[in-house]
């Protein structure tokens, strides 16, 4: 029996929830608003909310000063590349663990998860050294590989939890009809797995985009992505709130939008299926 809810109660809930939502979202909203102000208006006291002279000047200044497009491009390549590479390696592994499980499958899965818990700082210097020896320090390829390895356990887990929900009978039917392993994967499994693969791609792209230990420590000028671009704004130079806001807005906008689409996968992906 559904509980009857009075309109008053519902209105009260709505008011409280919207207020809290607004407070939590406020720093992001304020950053976006400030990015359209002049520097003088950005620091005016009392602060101005909406009635200022909207300007796009900050965006062009930021682009000129620090070549935003280059950092953006690095972020896209590194986050996109590491995610796609990771999924390509993880799909076969997750497929075999979900459909041809053995006694050791569970141990392998847990072991993969355990590599995720290795604190990055514990292996900072070895990775640094290996990168210098291989000549891939401050290169997109090096960072792509590291981020792929960091996220690989999550990718395998997410795909595994999705694949496990595909009924095995369908695969057996295909096998009975004489489908080869290749055909089975290509024509039966892939179409059913596409939604799961898509959400895995989405969440891991976001995680790679925001990763801020390796991207800060393994890049300098050439391969630096947006995380490093923003960190370069940490020492203030005169009036800069509006420019900082413009730079921040540009760095978070793509992922904020993607993130809203992937809230459900976030729970599933980051809890390794332990909360559904």
């Amino acid at each position: 029996m559904a509980r009857a809810v009075t309109t008053n109660r519902k209105a009260l809930n709505t008011a409280i929830a919207w207020t809290i939502g607004f407070v939590i979202f406020f720093p992001i909203l304020w950053t976006i608003l400030t990015s359209f102000k002049t520097e003088a208006q950005a620091i005016s006291d009392p602060p101005i909310f909406l009635f200022f002279d909207w300007t796009l000047e900050n965006y062009s200044v930021v682009q000129e000063r620090s070549n935003y497009m280059r950092f953006l491009w690095n972020s896209v390549i590194i986050a996109g590349g590491s995610t796609i590479l990771g999924v390509m390696i993880a799909v076969p592994a997750a497929w075999s663990m979900a459909f041809v499980p053995s006694k050791r499958t569970k141990d392998i899965l847990l072991w993969m998860l355990s590599t995720k818990m290795l604190p990055a700082v514990g292996v900072l210097y070895p990775i640094y050294l290996i990168f210098i020896k291989l000549g891939i320090l401050d290169s997109r390829i090096g960072l792509t590989i590291v981020l792929m390895l960091i996220n690989l356990p999550i990718i395998v887990w997410m795909l595994y939890t999705y694949f496990r929900e595909i009924p095995g009978e369908i695969l057996e039917a295909a096998r009975m009809d004489g489908a080869s392993l290749k055909e089975e994967i290509l024509y039966v499994l892939t179409p059913m797995a596409i939604p799961g693969i898509a959400s895995t791609l989405l969440l891991n792209f976001i995680l790679a985009w925001n990763e801020a230990f390796w991207t800060l420590n393994l890049t300098a000028a050439k391969a630096a992505p947006l995380t490093a671009f923003i960190a370069s704004y940490s020492s203030p130079e005169g009036l800069f709130f509006a420019k900082l806001s413009a730079a921040s807005t540009m760095a978070i906008a793509p992922v904020l939008i993607l993130g809203w689409f992937s809230q459900k996968q976030l729970v599933r992906g980051l809890t390794f299926g332990a909360v559904k």
Binding site: A17, I20, S102, P119, G122, L124, P126, L152, A212
Partner: protein, 288 residues
């Protein structure tokens, strides 16, 4: 039925992922272990030979070690307390009937998708700046002297920033758990006249315990190694140097690889203690 053929094919398909992760784990780990027993100063004479356990004793004996462990634990504990308590309250609130639930959820989730360097910088400058930050405006409005947040109240400020980033994650997971609550049981308790607090304590909280454990463990793993937030705001000054940051400084700033590696081994041990508990819980879920 899996045939012998498909079984060996399966092994082959697993191989790339397993080999890559094995290499990723073993190679740097072995190197860190090796360096931790060496006197290794790349800028001052390179590898100067065997050091025994001296790096380990020196790292623990240094005056900055225990404060850094303490700082780490306070940040992790503070953020966990805030995110779990507020997360439970928010999850229960968001589960209530209301208008525009989807929009509110989007607003609440948003901070999780902001990259750490951005949220740290935005908070540091636009909110916590002692002359032009929003908080300074508010303080002056009430006639108070603005606080220099990141130097006078550095730890609460950092805990605040990090909690803002992680509250969405806790809320989202707890909300998922709240939604799977058996509402008939709650209604029955309500009809029997159980007040909200005892319904919360005896029905809701036990139901959420597993989700809360998961939130605590996963956040602990990420929080033990927070870096960007400190790198951008205080640079480890004003008592905010965590274990991660201390090791980072030993390795990259003072270029003492042996000492830094010994610190790295301590960090790995600390993380593994947490990890073991998480694995138990996740592993149990696999059997179900």
């Amino acid at each position: 039925m899996a045939t012998q053929h498909s079984r060996s094919a399966a092994r082959l398909m697993m191989a790339p992922a397993v080999i890559l992760l094995l290499g990723w784990m073993l190679v740097p780990l072995t190197m860190t272990l090796w360096f931790s027993f060496r006197t290794y100063l790349p800028l001052r004479g390179g590898d100067q030979g065997w050091a025994g356990f001296s790096n380990y004793t020196r790292f623990i004996g240094s005056s900055s070690f225990w404060p850094s462990v303490q700082t780490t634990l306070i940040i992790v504990g503070g953020v966990l307390l805030i995110t779990v308590v507020l997360g439970v309250i928010l999850a229960l609130l968001l589960d209530q009937p209301m208008w525009g639930q989807g929009v509110v959820r989007i607003l609440v989730i948003a901070p999780f998708f902001v990259m750490p360097t951005v949220s740290a910088l935005v908070w540091k400058n636009m909110f916590m700046d002692p002359t032009n930050g929003i908080l300074a405006h508010i303080w002056r409005f009430f006639g108070a002297t603005p606080v220099e947040w990141l130097s006078q109240a550095s730890m609460p400020s950092i805990i605040m920033i990090v909690s803002w980033q992680w509250l969405p994650f806790a809320t989202l997971i707890l909300l998922t758990a709240v939604q799977s609550l058996d509402s008939e049981q709650l209604e029955a308790a309500e009809m029997d006249g159980a007040p909200f607090l005892s319904r919360f304590w005896f029905i809701i909280l036990p139901h959420l315990s597993r989700a809360i454990t998961i939130v605590i463990l996963i956040q602990t793993i990420f929080l033990l190694s927070i870096f960007a937030e400190i790198f951008v705001t205080t640079g480890g000054a004003f008592g905010t140097r965590t274990l991660t940051y201390l090791i980072f400084q030993r390795v990259l700033e003072s270029q003492n690889i042996g000492l830094g590696s010994a610190g790295g081994v301590y960090a790995i041990i600390l993380a593994n203690i947490v990890a073991i508990f998480l694995m138990r819980i996740v592993g149990k879920n696999l059997d179900a």
